[in-house]
Symmetry: C2
Subunit: 518 residues, 2 copies
């Protein structure tokens, strides 16, 4: 019956591919079949996602991150995927799965991570990052909280595309995992065979910088054989259009602490005598970039590998929606002295991701603080070395007159050095890029364009960081096929997933599994 | 018996005052009598202090601040002090008390506050700011927590002078209140009559800026008749020596928020395109002061009333222990371009008391923050107007190119103005000074010097702020006679009281009550 339904469906579709080849169905036809499956099974898909989101997933929260892994094993095995846990001492394991397709000659690896960024529940509108909440639109658009539909199994298509699920990792990265598995269910239900073998690699400490991924995969190198790796991490293009990307930036983190008096002092009895560390930190940070956002640290741009012709052309082809973004985000004057966002993402960045010194607002105390802290991250591009980048920044701080250490200063050091900075290297990893003109690169773009009526944006690099250098080192070309909405509050409070994006993501993944061939 | 004991004691004392006048006893003799009483009653005094400290006392915590006031009424009435609560809607009342002495012709008012600064329990070593903890030395000096002595009533003098009680308001200001009441007990026990009538004014919202004190006292002006006001607020001199001060700085607070994108953005996808508010705030703050700490805001020092000759001389007489302070506090190079601390306290200050933007350390998220906040306070000196000071600072921010508002910006405003600062005026009050050559000023210095073997430091002004301008406006000269140790962590975590200072404070207050006369 089902087979007949699919055949009928395919026969009715207006895509030209149909005439040339009816087995396998074209990407557009597969997308249509997945959509039909989804309309009938929204209840089941959302339930699976919500159960997954309900498990807290900070990488350092070992008991919970282990629960996530155990839950993933169940989810994968339910699809007949052979699953192994590649264990990491004290951390969540890499969840590895393998699904062999009888007629496949190619093997696709799929990477995503199941851990999430830290949460501050007080900053979330609903206060509970691990209790998925449904809203009828984005909070910024006045979205109201609504109950998850009861008895939704009896109401196909009851979930509106614009509805959003709010929870940590609803976008980054639990939903791509759920989308992939739901796509497999759809192909199975619609009796569409997979064109490729599939291996999944699901990491539990990406948001902590993937410190163990490379070593863990090296220990299990025999499992990794394949032809291309696809990552589901990251958001789609800000235009709302689907995205395929061929590179990403690297990332390093560092924490800077500057010191005032050995303890916070009464600002009346010591104010304008005791040096103020918040003021010193401000002066230090202000010296790092000019008003256009250009980094003033010596040699900061020296190691950048320039883009090739193919990438330059792709950049030109990308839609320019900077003006829309500026309006939506309330930005009057972006950094970069007039350069487009997509151009800036091909350069290294230096970002102050956090500041703290004593207290502000209601909690403010009339003190000269004893310390001030800044958390920085720098994004790296092709050609740059993480360790060297850290040294450049630390060296710059030293040149500003600071005594730079990597631990708390002693009282003697404080008394000896007017300016002291503790600069802690949190490590990071380099950028990575796959050539856009490889056969597999072209084949994948073709499938995604076909599944999305040619709407996909093709980008030489993503601004964000995924540890793809690891797979590059294993000799695997990798390509990014993200699915979630760009305005998902990734890494911040009120992270969310627009359901229309989840549905489209299922269709894209279904088409790739059914049609990728080169 | 007791009277005889006192007489005997006086007869044995070597002070020259004794020969001239045996009734009342000299300040030194009174101090000795108070000490004798204290040695026998440490248990009782510490118990009273601890019970008082156990009541949380943030001014905005209405139920608890009311409990403090009710507790104070009991404490005062136990001494036969006629007590009234001068109520303030939604806040802790002013606790007013009156103790008439049959032979007195002068009336002394005593001011202190019973509210405390906000607390962050996590920042306290013992985690519980309202559970007094005893240590055998300061935490910085390796002080260990010890139990309060059991059955201490049976062991006179069991409390070591160097022991410290850790709790919010253990110094600021609950212990001066307890010291005053214990001094009254001592005089009563030793049958030493009070030379003056005493009125006490105990405020419950000084740390919140005393917004209602003036109005409340005006409504009860009839209660305020008197000749001089003594305040017990503030610490003694950093040398450890007692202090009498004749002025204090005023204070204003302001909160500055600068804005980035409308929501925190992924630092990879938007880093070096989205303007970073933490960086902008750093640039703004850095522009406010030079490296020597001199404020660069136009006209910042223009309204300062220069010191008179008497005050200048007093400044010269003050001990210079800046070098000791620099060593103890781990300061290599104080602000002020070489000026002494006591000189700098006669100038207005500008202090960054707190910074906040997104998160640092373990909680850091890879975002471009949506906002960055700074909390500032400025200390004012004689001649300066709080409102004008605020306008100077806000005007400076405007001159740096900021669109300055006092509320959250709209999306349109964000999109229109590259730099937006919300600047919230938290109000404040002006500085105040009493002439050091008034008869009462000289008489008080004489009593305190006599009670402390001439050790007291006499200061024209304190760096801190107490709302003494209010009493100045009522035509009351006022003088500061603080008692607590300077290293008390006032306003910060681990606030503490060195017991030797409490004991000496009792002696000074006893001498003033028994001997002030002019």
């Amino acid at each position: 019956m089902r087979n007949i339904a699919v055949t009928l469906l395919i026969a009715l579709l207006p895509y030209p591919a149909l005439a040339q080849k009816s087995t396998p169905p074209s990407p557009a036809q597969v997308a249509e079949a997945v959509r039909e499956y989804r309309l009938e099974n929204e209840d089941r898909i959302i339930r699976e996602l919500n159960e997954f989101l309900a498990i807290p997933n900070l990488a350092s929260d070992t008991p919970n991150i282990q629960k996530n892994a155990a839950h993933l094993v169940e989810m994968l095995e339910a699809r007949g995927i052979e699953t192994h846990l590649l264990s990491i001492a004290g951390r969540g394991p890499v969840v590895f799965g393998k699904l062999i397709s009888a007629e496949a000659t190619r093997t696709v690896l799929f990477y995503a991570h199941y851990d999430g960024q830290p949460v501050d529940p007080a900053a979330w509108t609903d206060g509970k990052p691990f209790e998925p909440a449904l809203r009828d639109a984005a909070i910024e658009a006045g979205g109201k909280r609504i109950p998850f539909p009861e008895n939704s199994a009896a109401h196909p298509g009851i979930y509106n595309d614009d509805w959003r699920i709010y929870a940590r990792s609803s976008s980054d990265d639990k939903s791509p995992i759920v989308a992939l598995l739901a796509a497999i269910d759809a192909l199975h239900e619609k009796k569409i065979p997979l064109a490729v073998n599939l291996k999944v690699i699901l990491e539990g400490e990406e948001e902590a910088g993937s410190p163990n991924l490379q070593r863990t995969l090296e220990l299990h190198k025999n499992l990794l054989g394949g032809d291309v790796l696809i990552t589901g991490d990251g958001p789609v293009h800000q235009s709302g259009r689907p995205l395929v990307f061929f590179g990403n930036r690297g990332d390093i983190g560092l924490e800077i602490t500057v010191y005032g008096p050995v303890r916070a002092l009464h600002s009346g009895h010591y104010g304008n005598w005791a040096p103020n560390p918040a003021m010193e930190l401000s002066r230090l940070l202000a010296s790092m970039k000019d008003a256009d956002g250009r980094v003033l640290i010596e040699g900061y741009y020296d190691d950048v590998t320039p883009l090739g012709e193919v990438e330059k052309n792709a950049l030109v082809e990308m839609p320019d929606n900077d003006a829309d973004l500026e309006r939506a985000l309330g930005i009057a004057n972006p950094e970069g002295g007039g350069k487009k966002l997509v151009e800036l993402l091909t350069l290294p960045s230096l970002n102050v991701r956090g500041l703290k010194s004593a207290y502000v607002g209601e909690q403010a105390q009339n003190v000269v603080p004893d310390r001030a802290e800044a958390s920085l991250d720098a994004r790296l591009v092709q050609g740059e070395d993480p360790q060297k980048k850290f040294e450049q920044i630390a060296g710059f701080i030293r040149k500003q007159g600071y005594y730079v250490i990597d631990r708390e200063p002693t009282l003697d050091e404080r008394h000896l050095h007017p300016l002291i900075a503790k600069v802690v290297d949190e490590g990071g990893y380099r950028a990575s890029r796959t050539a856009m003109d490889l056969p597999v690169s072209k084949a994948l773009v073709k499938v995604v364009q076909s599944a999305t009526a040619g709407k996909a944006v093709i980008a030489p690099t993503l601004g964000g960081s995924v540890p793809m250098y690891i797979f590059e080192d294993f000799g695997l070309p990798w390509i990014g096929v993200p699915i979630v909405n760009y305005d998902n509050h990734q890494h911040s409070s009120d992270e969310n997933l627009r359901l229309g994006h989840l549905w489209r993501g299922m269709e894209i993944y279904g088409a790739v599994l059914a049609d990728l061939n080169w």
